[in-house]
Symmetry: D2
Subunit: 364 residues, 4 copies
């Protein structure tokens, strides 16, 4: 089906470009009868939008969602839900330069080759981080559906920025993760992260980081062996987020260094429910949810757009060129990414919950 | 399409169980005219099969591939290629115990719940590492196709076992990676890894590790934004391998700690070709191949089957139970995994190369 | 993927409702570099739109296409193309009555049950003939692509209205099929058909009919056995058009009454090209195009909306009810259907031509 | 996904060739817990197999099904079910001649072009009617599933052979449709049909015919608008059967000649259930099942293989050639087709019933 579609039963098709008329997404497979209006989506979009704090780009985008199909009398109808954001504050003039001079570590060069120069390069076009707004719109519907039908909730938060690592992550401070600009549950670490980002910006540079995501109340048995394991489908969706370069579940790479007797999770019961004493599996065994919290860690590379002048090539002439990356950019995309991760994970889980027959086709 | 199918143009459908009659896979979308016979596949199967060395399970499986459709006059016909291995050396009796007593950190418990007790639990059934033999069969076809049409080659090798980390990895020693039991290019590290595995086995325990995979000669522009980015589809396929819990591309999690100016790859030319001076992107930008070598690191958890007695539950009675995991097992699955990783990566790349129109539907 | 998506390489996802904000479609997989603007689509939409003649509904819909993504510098970019029509002349008030009282032979009743009363019933909602405008938009892109790259052309025309059957169908009068209101190549039959429709309308009744569709310049070998035979995918798409109840290829049902020696098409050469002396196969053998013109006949039922009062049920009370179907309707949908059929067939053929590797991913 | 796969939730992938080692099919998505063994499938295969009567080919094929995965303890496990038939009575020598000389109205010529001469042409290879045995295997599972869970039953029977048309078709004689060689409910017509077939064979010729198929106990609301309408998916599957050239639902082409007031089905109640007084819709409105019996008519062309010498071409030399079609053939394939049609329809309905959430993923 190509690359613009994701999901099997809760399906989304993305469209739009960073500096085109709009960015949008069509969601199909949402059961009829879910109460839904723009405000259910706008809240999450607002947490993602730029211009909110000193650590993000100062570009202002209103990012107002418009639902143009699939909702009637304030409920989903079972028909495809098309949601879009009309682009407004885009200034495409600075991007003329990158038509032939690819920005280092952006998609520009391979996109030039792949699309023979026809791709809309303005603002990164189809490869822009702006497209994550479409993931938020689709995922906001999924998140509401999962919450209302199965009580499933997904939270994502910053745990690392550059070399600063959060500690002291508790359910209580996860709940208030959006109260600081970094979206880090550990307020002390958040302060240091903020300083580090501001310093990087001052240096004309950028930073990367890590987001952790946990989901609670997952039923046992989501995931379809072999190729639609929960890890498979979650990673596929997460790697669709620009700048994500690493994904691990549970103890992940750290677990690779352990012995089985250290990493195995032993079964016991808690309040009559089967649980494991540890959760090194991150809630997934054999590609299936095992009823424990889903735990994912996602590594973001440092933003490729930096203010420093970089050496690159003029592809049209295959000659060296120097480039100051045009446009207004985030010195670190991680603080804007938690709502994106929450929404992407929700989309995948909604898809699997419907596949597993756990959500009816009409919510009465 | 559920979980048994992967790919869009080079499509594979898996079937079979660890202790059933066979394990098999049907591949569709391979162009007509590729010379193919059993020996093209058997070589890779032999590198995966158990019983080869002191670090693997002593279980003997002949693992002889049988091509039962899609090949005529020693060439592919364009029709689906069904390949299977008849199961032989399986002893299912020890597995009766796990019908109700799930092995820690195996799929047993979620599979019980998901399939209501109907799943074939013998030897792990559908969740067994034995199913990776089907990935090898499909991927061997893909690898041959990629090599013959585009000169693309994928190599995977062990870089970590437990806490031992290989260094000194060069093209030359990668080429001889299969010359030691660990499949590690660094012979000195391989020796330490072997000792560590033997020690773990002696302790009734197991180990995990890391495999690195590199692909050369990839054309620019493979990958379909947004949801079929090369990272998306590769990670989806890699997480279908049992025991994989982490995947990163290029500088991965390490890159998350860097500044943009350190992590960005600057363009230059080499022999008239556009290249980057570094390859922190691991060959993928914006989800598209950029012509540099593809670099992936894959984290495997320690084998869940250990000889030590573990505490678990009898699910039928929700009472505590002690379990000695039945069957004969690998103290570390990593040394058998490189051919699996090579084949899985080849499947995904063949799929994308066909999607991109780079491989004709008939090879003349 | 549910029912809103069609195609594999040239993929379309439909959204919108008859009386919602808009009807739209997103097309993905169109190669980059195809010159495209709204006028390429508007021409075909205009041939479909209502209010054009005495034989169609007097409802006025401007049906102006808006391309909101995927086109840059007047060429396709390789990104998804979202096209929509904002709804304007919709009067939903008359439809309140059908919320509980289903119109005979419309989708109302099964849709009520399927969507638990949440479906948008206004104007038929998602089941309205208005949705065929989205097929025209997607198909117009496909038709242009096929024409420009392979010279493939598809024409559809009315051959039967009620009991009037056209004869004397020649390439010359097919070329002028849009010159009469019925879109029938046989002008004399067209007059009789027009009278018959006007008589039916005067009687508060409606008529059905048959459309024939032929495609020339098809390359040999389109179609993917077994389940994506050309007949399979064409019929699937054609039965997505409301009111279509029958599809046949070549000699179709008439061929079922013949002997093999009468129905077989014998090979010969013409200008050095392999052709058949007759074309009872309608251009398809074994599900593959054989290089002869594709010939399809499509049967439309009489429009279900008639002015006459009909007996039906009030579903909410399971009591008898009489219904005068609300809204303004076509006494016969067939004259508006030829552009829809042309576009639907073009979509399927574009999909198969791309699958067969006959259209490159960039048009230079 | 190419052409070898059908279905979305109840998915089947076909493999094998007429004269290769086997023909087979893998079914995925069948719920766990369905009692299943070979005899559930063999009964339907036996009704399809050749050599049963004077009106079929005298070729003997045992056609014994072998289930090689997905069944454990005589129940489905939820894993893919691979079923195959090992080919036995195939004599490939006569087929050497068609390597370059295509049989008229067979797939030979387009297959030669499409696969560049690499296709397995023996016995028609992948295009052989023998592949319908795989449809029967998959559909037999679907039919059992539908019967056991929802009481849905599908019956198909011959209504026309050449110019002989059955009348007097009643539920009672439909129930005994397999009691005559023609599988025609009208015994008097069956006699005439038999004579007509024997005469055609004696003349070195062949005949076509029509099969009608009805399904009872369908729940209301199966079908997914727009592109997975029930008509869309049923026709797609039915046109995968070799020799099918026409499909109509309910009043079909005959309805195209009627007025709306004649063709509309008016609602009423029967035993408290909503029904229609007539069933011109054939049980489908707006692409959704409406609770009335599904009624489909399927037109088969006369068998392309006839004993008479036919003029054709030697493609390798583009010169005229005369051909006596090699092999042993049916003078009319229709009498062997009813079980195939029943099974194909069952596959589609099972897929839709699962999609609609009407069949649980475990049958307890």
């Amino acid at each position: 089906m190509g690359g613009s579609i994701i999901g099997e039963r809760f399906v989304a098709m993305s469209f739009g470009e960073s500096h085109g008329k709009c960015v949008g997404i069509v969601v199909d497979g949402c059961p009829a009868g879910l109460p839904l209006n723009e405000s259910d989506i706008q809240g999450l979009l607002d947490l993602r939008k730029p211009g909110q704090s000193v650590v993000t780009t100062q570009r202002k985008e209103e990012d107002k969602v418009d639902i143009i199909s699939g909702v009637f009398n304030a409920h989903t109808t079972g028909a495809p839900i098309c949601m879009l954001i009309w682009n407004k504050d885009s200034d495409s003039r600075p991007y003329e330069i990158i038509k032939n001079i690819p920005r280092p570590s952006h998609a520009d060069y391979p996109a030039m080759v792949k699309y023979g120069g026809f791709a809309d390069y303005r603002g990164g076009g189809r490869f822009s981080g702006r497209l994550t707004a479409t993931l938020v719109m689709a995922g906001a519907v999924a998140a509401k559906l999962l919450k209302q039908t199965l009580g499933i909730e997904t939270v994502a938060y910053t745990t690392e920025i550059g070399t600063v690592i959060a500690s002291n992550i508790t359910p209580a401070n996860i709940a208030t993760r959006y109260s600081n600009d970094i979206r880090c549950p550990d307020p002390a670490a958040a302060e240091k992260m903020k300083d580090m980002i501001l310093q990087a910006r001052q240096d004309g540079d950028s930073l990367g980081g890590v987001i952790e995501c946990t989901t609670t109340n997952l039923p046992v048995g989501l995931g379809e062996p072999i190729f639609a394991s929960l890890e498979s489908d979650l990673s596929k969706a997460l790697f669709s987020i620009p700048a994500v370069k690493a994904v691990e579940f549970g103890s992940g790479f750290a677990g690779s260094k352990r012995r089985g007797s250290e990493n195995n999770d032993l079964y016991t019961t808690k309040n009559g429910k089967v649980v494991t004493k540890t959760n090194n599996a991150g809630g997934i065994l054999g590609g299936l949810s095992n009823g424990m919290p889903l735990v994912i860690r996602i590594g973001f590379k440092p933003a490729a757009s930096i203010a420093k002048t970089q050496k690159t090539l003029d592809i049209s002439r295959k000659s060296e060129a120097s480039l100051e990356v045009p446009g207004r950019h985030d010195p670190c995309v991680v603080p804007r990414a938690p709502p994106v991760v929450e929404c992407v994970v929700s989309m995948v889980l909604a898809d699997h919950a419907i596949m597993a027959g756990l959500i009816p086709s009409v919510l009465r």
